[in-house]
Amino acid sequence: MDARQQNLIPAFYPTPRQLSGIKAVLFVLALLPVMRLVAATLLDRLGANPIEFITRSTGDWTLYFLCLTLAVTPLRHLSKWHWLLRLRRMLGLFAFFYACLHFTTFLWFDHFFDLDEMWRDVLKRPFITVGFSAFVLLIPLAVTSTNGMVRRLGGKRWQWLHRMVYLIAALGILHFWWMKAGKHDFAQPILFGMIVALLLLLRLYWRLQRLQAERKQALGSPAGCGGQRRRTSY
């Protein structure tokens, strides 16, 4: 399980300067999808239905960034590159950024800023209800993403609040699933669902492992097969 111990991933500790460089590159890369949309809009290269293209694209990128954000902890665990954690806030904020664009296309192009009409749509159609809920739940996470807010909330409380991202990811996939449901076209939602499920199950697996290790320690039994046998007979 531990890729580092098998020498698959070399140890790497970036200097502060290198880390700033990595962050800058990541920032530019994360902006590419929206820059591509802007360029394609100006060049009239979005196809016959530009608005649909923008809606789908911004929705897709929200899900990509949610997956990337959720991938940080497992990747860190596997590679022991703990500095990856320093990139997580940016990834999460980009998920929020694309979610904002996605919501704006809905409010602007679908409803032309008619809020009454938008609310009717949100309340009437389950797939929009879950998508909208996921978006609303992202707002407190984005607001409390600053160092100051982490301090003000305290680490533990902050962490509990930000575990909401698991729910948000599930709602996002449900939104996508229901959007595709009428067309029986589940290939993509299944793929996203499997990726998120894997990322969450890995956490669960490691957590159970850790609990087991802690219990063993508490019992004072030595590690190894013998220890386990002795424990079961205990």
């Binding site: 196809g47 016959a48 239905n49 530009p50 749509d121 229901w178 959007m179």
Partner: protein, 328 residues
Amino acid sequence: MLIKHNPNGIELPFPSEITPRAVFESRRKFIRQLGVGAAAGVTGTLLELPGNEAWAQAPGAQKLAATVNPAYVVMDKPTAYKDATSYNNFYEFGSDKADPAANAGSLKTRPWTIAIEGEVKKPLTLDLDSLQKLAPLEERIYRLRCVEGWSMVIPWIGYSLAQLIKKVEPTGNAKYVEFVSLADKKQMPGLRSPILEWPYVEGLRLDEANHPLTLLTFGMYGAVLPNQNGAPVRVVVPWKYGFKSAKSIVKIRFVKDQPRTAWNIAAPQEYGFYSNVNPNVDHPRWSQATERRIGEDSFFTKKRQTLMFNGYSQVASLYGGMDMKKFF
């Protein structure tokens, strides 16, 4: 506006009320540029958008001669040929809108045989040429409304399906007409995906099939149908959502019972057998009250109102006394 009614119930404006083509073309072009080009204007390069000439004839495609039928012309501006042939739902070639244009090249449209069978006195099996010569070809400009909330305006070429129905003489048992599309795995990569039951089957009530608006279609934009638009022969039923208009038809069957149609099997709560364009009956996942006209409605315009029966009110009499919410 005064409306003149002719015996078919087809609404025709007075010639004096029709905006001269040159005027509306320049007006549309201006609106388009204002819309799509507003952002581009900032950079100083105003985009040259395809004008109305683009639809007149399909570039490079095999021409198909037809006489314009003035009874079936809408005042809406036809959709650009490029949009009508690159943004398609034709799941036999893939579920993405760009898939049919990319994958339908593998479809062999000749030789093509079509069987007309079932509850008829004179069943027929015809090759494409004989079928096409059965009645004079007409050009008709119809609105096309997709169930997904977008619309186009397309100059089709064909003749009323009623002409064919007359030839085969349906028996008293014939209550419905079923259209079966080609399902050939070798030519149609989309059949590998189980999104729908193949072959694609669509159907109409006999009186709907006999309505003069229902067009047996061989061409569009002055040329033969491109593969991605349902070559070599399809139906076009302009008052119903687009998926009711079966493409690449190999069999037309006259039957006693309501056919089990592809989308109705896949999601009965979302796609009814009738599927008449109706702004008052929402799709479970979106409103059908408005639509976006491809190539026209830009970022800065509200979506346009969808019309009952897609504006073809002459079909209303087919559904007298029917609860359209129940039979959606």
